[in-house]
Subunit: 163 residues, 2 copies
């Protein structure tokens, strides 16, 4: 029983990550762009903590890995893309960037789960792409080229050292 | 080369599923509730086709499974919950149902990917929970108890026969 509770702790942080992503979308829908942006950063705090807590409690689990990706696609793929979509002036380029960002994010997450890399990441991790977009959103600044670049970097073969 | 193209076909359908989920959210944000609802049903068409095409082309892949879950959490977890959120009168019960629906959906998807069941599903599959919510949304009908029930059924031990 005690073991099960301890095992669930990191997953509660992952659910916190998902919840902040969800709330970011609802605040964005209501026009509270700054709050929507801050909530994505709060997702990142939960995302950083869940892995560290799992490692320090030695309760890493396959379920945790799956749950983490599902939270990440919402908080760092869909929510930042919607923030960009709310701010950017409509154009074909903007629509393309908005669509490609979460799709490339999903491909990045799926690829990592199938072939995990040790010590480094192949392609920009999705939080490292979502956070700049959220940060730009906070200042009501949008740039379709930067968004496209971040999307492409996620599926690029570049190596990024793990924090 | 030809093999790689054939292998990618089911994943294009999965990306179609994700794209419809994304567009459902943007139409919902712009107040086009019926279109947002129809797009979730279109996601389900893509979702049904990707698995069938993968099986008939014999190109089932681990990447496809991961990508499928990431698309499903957006199209059948987040998008229907946001539709419900847009229609329902604000209350603590409504907020609870809105939050729990995608969280239970993520738990359901994560559990299935870790322990796949053969011939049957354990817990209501996420499209079978998201589609009733999308259908209710089409008629501007919301019911927090039904939403909560669908959320709980996803993580319940009930067995559902595979289609």
């Amino acid at each position: 029983m005690f073991n099960r509770v301890v095992k669930a702790i990191p997953n509660l942080f992952t659910i916190g990550n998902l919840l902040c992503g969800l709330l970011s979308i609802t605040f964005n829908m209501s026009g509270f762009i700054e709050i929507a942006s801050v909530l994505i950063f709060l997702s990142a705090v939960f995302d950083l903590l869940d892995g560290r807590i799992a490692r320090s409690l030695k309760v890493n689990s396959a379920l945790g890995v799956q749950l983490d990706s599902l939270a990440d696609i919402v908080s760092f793929g869909v929510a930042p893309a919607l923030l960009f979509h709310s701010i950017a002036a409509p154009s074909i380029l903007t629509s393309l960037a908005f669509i490609l960002f979460p799709i490339m994010g999903a491909l990045r997450l799926a690829r990592f789960n199938v072939k995990p890399t040790i010590g480094y990441f192949k392609g920009l991790p999705i939080p490292a792409a979502g956070l700049p977009l959220a940060g730009m959103g906070f200042f009501f600044y949008s740039n379709a080229w930067v968004t496209l670049l971040l999307a492409i970097l996620m599926v690029s073969p570049i190596r990024v050292k793990k924090l």
